[in-house]
């Protein structure tokens, strides 16, 4: 008697399980997969993505370089006082651990996390992100020699 009850219970539970999967099997458009290369999810706010420095606003203070725990930021400044400018700013993003300390420390808020998260490249040298181009370097040196501060140049 016990065995028969057991078999009945087994059949009942098995059918319940099958119906649950069948519900999803025949439900059209129930797929929740994001087809990655065709469609991308936006990263959420405050996502610590790949770093970006808006060098036009950067004063070249070098606090980011000092706070970086793994020394992956390279910065070289030119000029004195308020006219100081970065003439070389690079991040070895392959070493960066996205802790965000540099972004917190940046007084000008020009060093930010973007929402980019696809950092794969074919060669290691492509992971050496340089933010100051040659033209910018020339211009910054001229401005620094003239003694124009960063904020006033904008106006």
């Amino acid at each position: 008697m016990k065995a028969i009850k057991e078999i009945g219970w087994a059949i009942k539970t098995l059918i319940v399980g099958l119906l649950i999967t069948a519900k999803y099997w025949f439900k059209p458009g129930s797929e929740i997969t994001v087809q990655y290369p065709d469609e991308r999810l936006m990263s959420f706010p405050r996502f610590r993505g790949i770093l970006f420095n808006d060098v036009e606003r950067c004063t070249g203070c070098g606090i980011c370089k000092m706070t970086c725990p793994i020394d992956c930021i390279e910065i070289e400044s030119y000029g004195k006082g308020k006219a100081r400018r970065p003439i070389h700013y690079a991040i070895r993003i392959s070493e960066c651990m996205f802790c965000g300390l540099c972004v917190e420390a940046c007084p000008e808020e020009c060093l930010i996390h973007t929402d980019r998260y696809e950092g794969s490249v074919y060669e290691l040298k492509d992971l050496y992100y340089q933010f100051v181009s040659e033209e910018q370097k020339k211009r910054f040196m001229e401005l620094a020699e003239k003694g124009i501060p960063v904020k006033e140049e904008k106006k």
């Binding site: 078999i7 649950i20 999967t21 999803y24 129930s30 797929e31 997969t33």
Partner: protein, 369 residues
């Protein structure tokens, strides 16, 4: 067919061929047709399996190669074909090479006995059921060889498990198959199909013969699942415990052979179920209206394959629904539940045959004549 071969042989200048040559050529042609068919089926079955898995698990499944990813199996086949074939130094080389062929042959040869329609069958065997049961058991030898030959603990455990499982469930399969065979009175599958001609091609099915064949069908189906090493009885290849079980060390095309053997086994087992229980190639309702023999053959095989496909889809549905059994549960289910019930059904079916003179339940109720 024979006349065609004789004519062709005479025309080509070989003279009249001996009987054995005719038999050999017909056998080869049938074999090639079945091989092409089974390879195509296996490719599509892997694709459908992945699609079903995707749908049940709320994702897409293959959708990159070709429209709806339908060419995925071609890509997979090519990949397996060009992969490096590794036989590691500790392996027993002879057994390692032999095992995939035995497994594949065991699952493929069973197709020979299956009648696809009135005239379309590879071999007219009067012991077809016995032949299929025997060849599906041959798979065990291959699996044990594969498990032993690769000198790998996972492989060995998988091989041992599959032997224990298939040998035990073979008994259940045999008993469950005897139930309809008692009513049919023949081991010939063609006879079995012809026996189910009554009742518009549906009510005459053996599964509706009496309550005992109805239960026997489910016993057979459960045991057949275990024989194909399908979930929930896929302990020999349980990836969470045994990596891949008996084919752990196999790569490339040898691995593909095991894979194809599994799907081939599914086809044979489902085809046997449809022939013995579900009316085989009988076309429901309109069989009497079709007069052209060729059309009848084509429609008959389509009906048989449709039944097989439905059973295979149910197997896939099971796979993505149920968790795996434990090894002691597996054995307990077989020896303590399925075999006693099977024997009881066998006894009851024999008594039914004796008491009601082999009449169907619908005949007794007066629904069909």
């Amino acid at each position: 067919m024979e006349r065609l071969i004789v004519k062709l042989s005479v025309k080509l200048g070989f003279g009249s061929p001996p009987d054995w040559a005719i038999l050999l050529i017909i056998g080869l042609i049938a074999g090639i047709i079945l091989l092409v068919f089974i390879l195509l089926y296996e490719g599509l079955a892997t694709y459908i399996e992945r699609k079903v898995a995707g749908d049940i698990q709320v994702r897409y499944g293959p959708n990159r190669v070709g429209p709806y990813g339908i060419l995925q199996f071609v890509a997979d086949g090519l990949k397996l074909f060009f992969k490096e074939d590794i036989i590691h130094s500790q392996a027993d080389r002879l057994l390692f090479r032999l095992a995939p062929y035995i497994v594949f042959t065991g699952s493929f040869v069973g197709l020979a006995a299956i009648p696809f329609s009135v005239e379309w069958y590879a071999a007219k065997l009067n012991v077809g059921v016995l032949f299929i049961v025997a060849t599906t058991s041959l798979v065990v030898a291959g699996l044990a060889m594969a498990g032993w030959a690769q000198a790998n603990k996972w492989g060995l455990l998988g091989g041992m498990r599959s032997v224990a499982q298939i040998v035990s469930y073979e008994v259940t399969v045999g008993i469950a198959l005897l139930v309809p065979i008692i009513h049919i009175g023949s081991l010939d599958l063609q006879q079995a199909v012809l026996y189910q001609k009554k009742g518009w091609g549906i009510l005459g099915w053996n599964i509706f013969h009496d309550p005992f064949t109805f239960i026997a069908f489910f016993i057979y189906f459960i045991a057949a699942l275990a024989e194909c090493n399908r979930t929930p009885f896929d302990l020999p290849e349980g990836e969470s415990e045994l990596v891949a079980g008996y084919f752990t060390e196999y790569t490339g095309f040898r691995f593909a052979f095991f894979f194809m053997a599994e799907y081939g086994d599914m086809f044979v087992v489902s085809a046997l179920a449809s022939c013995l229980f579900l009316g085989g190639w009988h076309i429901p309702f309109i069989e009497e209206l079709i007069k052209i023999p060729v059309l009848k053959n084509i429609l008959g095989s389509i009906v048989l394959i449709a039944k097989v496909v439905v059973l295979i889809l149910i197997m896939m549905w099971f796979r993505w629904t149920y968790p795996r059994l434990r090894i002691d549960q597996l054995m307990a289910l077989n020896w303590k539940r399925l075999i006693p019930i099977g024997l009881l059904m066998l006894l009851c079916a024999s008594l039914w045959d004796l008491v009601f003179n082999g009449k169907r339940i619908f005949e007794l109720l007066g629904i069909i004549k």
